[in-house]
């Protein structure tokens, strides 16, 4: 007797990066348009190249992948953090990337709100640590926070589901108790 495989349940999910007529695709499209417009507005060859590359990647890859690659590609734009031009270029692209990230399924208001607030809180905390300690510590804080909260979430889920199942089993009373 073979154990039931997990492949069947994954087959029920459509690949998240596939375009569909739904809210997620609309938000994603808006993000890509924003990035394209920012690149066209900034006008330099570098901006146009990065913008075109991100739009092309965003069409075929998952939004979260595009966001990660995009932040790596934006490193040259913020080489001089004090320069206004650099900050404007970074900010314009950052807005598009954030919109793109919200297009990652599941696209629900709750998830969008949590994403924006969570990212803002994490970035702010990392910024404080960056000022006080340094960039390495700020980066470590982001990774540690993600790992720690995830572990807590997984533990909570396991315990709560176990309790739910126990409660359901208890509801179907033990037959032995019938004659006790």
């Amino acid at each position: 007797m073979s154990e039931p495989s997990s492949q069947a349940v994954f087959a029920l999910l459509e690949p998240s990066h596939r375009w569909r007529v739904d809210g997620a695709s609309v938000v994603r499209l808006l993000g890509l348009c924003w990035i394209g417009a920012a690149a066209w507005y900034l006008g330099s060859d570098l901006h146009l190249a990065v913008g075109a590359g991100l739009v092309a990647l965003g069409v075929i890859a998952r939004p979260v992948t595009t966001v990660a690659v995009g932040h790596a590609a934006l490193i040259p734009f913020a080489a001089e953090p004090a320069a206004t031009a650099s900050l404007v270029a970074w900010g314009l692209f950052e807005g598009g990337l954030l919109l793109l990230l919200l297009g990652e399924r599941p696209t629900t208001p709750v998830v969008a709100l949590l994403t924006v607030s969570g990212a803002a809180a994490l970035a702010a905390t990392a910024g404080v640590v960056f000022v006080l300690v340094g960039l390495a510590a700020a980066s470590a804080l982001v990774v540690a926070t993600l790992a720690g909260v995830s572990v807590l979430l997984y533990r909570y889920e396991r315990l709560s589901v176990d309790r739910l199942l126990e409660a359901r089993r208890a509801a179907e009373a033990d037959p032995q108790e019938l004659i006790q």
Partner: protein, 524 residues
Amino acid sequence: MDPTRQTWRTAAFVVTLAGLAPLTGSVVPAVGAAAVSGWLLAAQLAAVRSVRSTAADATVDIAVDSERAGVGTPIAATVTVERPTRATGTALTVTYPTPPVAEPIREADRRVELGPSETEGSTTFSIRSSVPGRIRLSEPTWRLVDAAGLVTESYSQGPTAAVDVVEAADTAHHAGDGAEMQPWVDADGRQAGRAAGPDRLRPYEPTDPAARIDWHTTARLGEPYVRETTTRSGRPTNLIVDHRPKLLAGDEETMFESIRSVALGVAATAAGRGDPLGLVTIGDDGTTSAVEPTSRSAGYEEIRRRLQELGPTPTDHPAGIEVDHAEPAGYGGSADHSVGRLLATFGTGSTATASPVDRRPLVEAVRCHQPPTSGSTVILTDDTDRAELRAAVRAALKRGTVVVYLTPRVRFDSDRTALPARTSDRYRQFERFRRRLDGVESVTVHEVSPAVDGWPDGLADPGGPIRQPESSQSSSSSPSSPSSSSSPSSPSSQSTQSTNGQPNEQTGESKTATATVSDGESNE
């Protein structure tokens, strides 16, 4: 809950970006890591909520066509998974495992799949076994994935089901008069030996031990065959038959008539196997008749005669019991009990009377008339006093296994004006009670009912997990004409099979007593 590859990939993006920040001296990758982390945490939180919701509210149900079938006969099992709209958002599969002794069933047939937005699904598959025994469908395995494909969860939970696979040849025809079905009993009615059952050959199954292969037959037929021998258990069986006036319910056939038909079948089977058999009959005022366990032909005949002559006790009948001692040694139950003392006093073949002893005669009968050695108690009654029945089963379990034949009052009520919904609800309550009692270790509970055609309106399809009534347990014979019910060729005859003290070789279960009551044709 486990992370998927997608989760690890996203976490890898975060780590890479966080690592790039100090390497390049730029805050941009760190901001990107914070943004992706924020999304990952939010999506995981949503996943946890949806998984919990599904685990709490989704339900699975399994309904089998029949809880009993002959060897090789397919039984359809329908699995239904439902969940409310608030529990959507996860993709889930519910898969029942293949029973160990059943023929392999494709996983796709045993699986119900629901997409993230679907609320209901079902599948139907056939269970078939080429060896007798009890097939158990254990709890199904649930696999959940959130809509984003970030986390998976799996657990086992849900209803189980069991199907008794009985031999289609040999024992299934032990109906009616056991004297006609004793090929291994000599002319004097004595057993020919301990390994007394008739041999039977059947094709080899992968679960059979190699030592049971019959090499002569294998060589002759060109494929492996095993030889099965039916052995007597030697363990006593005590029949406790309720014939109180409350069993008079029923129009065309009363509850008592149904019970008596089954009792005759059980007695015939025990006689056919040569197992010691005792009889205790219960009236409103206590035990009305008792025959100690006997394995003599005369004893079987006496029990059969008493069952045939038995009728519901009149409400104003004089109190008293008739006690017969066919084999008095060691019989009498609790020595400090009035009936026990009485039986001990009259230790030789005789008839005696005693006063009523308890307001719960069934319980008292079980306590006072337990077999001298570990054996089986077969109780035949109705479901009107469930507390009394529970107490009786509890008492009977102290001396071995218990088989209960139970008539649901709702199926004998003559009130045709009752609302179908209420009737179905009462029947569901009965079935729930029967299943719970059947779930007790060493206890088997069967329903005894008239044929499905005789059901009141609205009861024919109660719905839910019991929407397929156990038609194979129907009692349709006329107990007033025992000769007709004893003929295996009669389509309305009952066949009764009782296997006492024989552990199930396929499952190794501790339920050592099983009994089958079915139409004569359905076991073919």
